[in-house]
Symmetry: C2
Subunit: 353 residues, 2 copies
DNA sequence: CTGAAAGCGCTAACAC
DNA sequence: GTGTTAGCGCTTTCAG
């Protein structure tokens, strides 16, 4: 390959504007101590020459890399891509992350990391050494992996933990899971449902617990029982089906079910079909995620939207600002909305068959 | 921000192994002229110290950046993300691209570029100057934008053009659109259909034309007419609906329709529903793309799968090899498959109402 | 086969 | 306010 050199460097700009490299550097980095007149002259040269700083060189000289790294679970992400499940988590991350990075002259890179591997640390160290990101976004279950958070903290790399409230370093952002679950539950209560089942996510996601808490609190507030009405899955279809079957096989079966992911809700729909239960006439269903698939099921799913794009956008913003303003210590809550579609209705007047 | 330095550099490795920087560099880059014994010693130090080269430094000293850039249409991509349409084009690109990059120690970055803007060149130049990618993947409609291909060629940056057969620089890769369309058509013909409509994509995508060609050829081969049976959309739902309506309003309306995207096929389904046409009893439907949504429609869609992941993977591989082995001049065809689902059936015995 | 020197483009630290 | 100097970590010459 031809040894590619930078077409136009800071040196060219300096010569063109008749100033020192440093002054150009100051203008690029919007540093103070440059007279407006000079600044303008330099900027004019930059524009005319079409100069753009090389991020490699910037990074080399010890400044920022203008790179934000978003880390996702390797196995899960690949499985979703391969299965073409329609989960658009990564897309929404990119939507929120890339656009916000753009605004600040940053770039976002996505990395897949295997949490369960015993060499997470080495893997992550390698990535950090190679890329030198200015900030890292951790998504569950990485957000609560002490090997990862510890490494980042030790390296003094600002990072955000999505879906984690654990004390410790890093910005914590949640999508207000407890409140969302309560909201969904209240909605069903207001429709007259009294037996509302809940399918929780796996324990290694903190938000699984928060959602259960929200559901339970809303149920108790309404004076309704929760015993035996909570099953658990791993967010996937298979386990969702098992959980749904258990709930629907209860003697006094629920007239409504909230499931902690779209895939598990798909399973609820299937379980209902198997029993000739009509949704929403015989069974109301509310989902979590609001991925594209919810509009295509029969009936379309009422779902708690996860504001992924906005959450990542907030995270990016805080990470970029980190050098200037310290990271907030308090968790940040980006609230989700309940998007109503056809899968919920009034509780059936009669009891179950 | 704390001035972050590389934790362990090539210098540490050199000292640890008792050799010169150069030798370490040679080992890293798998260059010849290193005795196996020495190589092993150095590699041992690398492993022990957990050394990873800084890509910034590598890039700086004029070698590779280990970066492949994948460029997508800005407006379209953002619209799809925002609309949560379930299009997983970007995900499939990442699936194929990231994993293949990984294997070779490369990284893939996704960029959104606005083709229709009049400053594409400046925008792209800036990105290239900042990132210095070793290879670029162009997706339609960028693949055929001479401003872009010209710039890349001038800069001697290896690039791949997905979905383009135009002569000129860059590797050309297609998903064999003509053949796929013919295959879909033949399938319908074999089911007894004689009036098979086609909804083409927009003209600024070459592959739109190839698909029409494939359909027309198969129809002619079967001795069937095509007049008035080809409408056009922009891959989106709205225009798909218009096209579907036109076809279904024909006096001698088609008993089968092939549409050039899943979104347009969704529109065909809706148009059929509006007319109380049952799919597949009254109307058979075949789609292009095979995005996640096709499994959730009623009935699920028979679709031509676009092997995006594999195509991007091939492109990445060739791009990475570019310095060693010259880019192939001939186009590369990655063949798609027809995935059969419930939306096709035998042609109705009687004519239309 | 191995090593020493020079420099990539930029910014930090310091002088003026 | 502005310029000068000295690297950052690596690879590329070019010597041995």
């Amino acid at each position: 390959m031809a040894r590619r050199r930078q077409a136009v460097t800071i040196r060219h700009v300096a010569e063109d504007a008749g100033v020192s490299l440093q002054t150009v550097s100051r203008v690029i980095n919007k540093e103070p101590n440059v007279r407006p007149a000079m600044k303008e002259r330099v900027q004019a040269s930059i524009d005319r020459l079409g100069y753009v700083p090389s991020i490699a060189a910037q990074r080399m000289s010890g400044s920022r890399s203008y790179l934000i790294l978003a880390i996702n679970d390797r196995e899960k992400t690949i499985a979703e891509w391969r299965g073409r499940s329609g989960t658009d988590w990564v897309d929404q991350m990119l939507l929120g992350g890339m656009l916000t990075c753009d605004e600040h002259g940053y770039r976002m890179m996505v990395e897949l990391v295997d949490t369960h591997s015993d060499h997470v640390e080495r893997e992550l160290s390698a990535t950090i050494a190679a890329l030198q990101p200015d900030g890292v976004i951790l998504t569950p279950p990485h957000s609560e992996n002490p090997l990862i958070t510890g490494l980042l903290a030790k390296r003094h790399i600002p990072f955000a933990r999505i879906g984690s409230l654990d004390p410790g370093p890093g910005i914590r952002l949640t999508m207000d899971d407890e409140h969302s679950a309560a909201m969904a539950t209240e909605k069903l209560v207001s429709l007259g449902h009294r037996r509302i089942g809940f399918i929780a996510g796996p324990d290694d996601y903190s938000l699984s617990g928060w959602r259960v808490t929200g559901w339970r609190a809303a149920m108790e507030f309404a004076g309704l029982p929760t015993d035996g009405l909570c099953e658990k899955g791993d967010f996937g279809f298979e386990t969702g089906l098992e959980a749904a079957n258990k709930l629907l096989d209860l003697e006094d079966r629920p007239t409504a079910i909230i499931a902690s992911s779209d895939q598990m809700t798909l399973a609820v729909l299937e379980a209902a079909r198997d029993r000739n239960l009509k949704v929403p006439q015989d069974l109301s269903v509310i989902s979590f995620d609001n991925t594209p698939v919810v509009r295509f099921t029969d009936p379309p799913l009422t779902a708690v939207d996860q504001p992924i794009a906005e959450t990542i956008s907030r995270a990016v913003e805080l990470l970029i600002m980190a050098p200037k303003s310290p990271l907030p210590l308090e968790p940040i809550n980006v609230q989700g909305q309940l998007i109503e579609r056809g899968s919920i209705g009034p509780a059936p007047g009669a009891n179950d068959a």
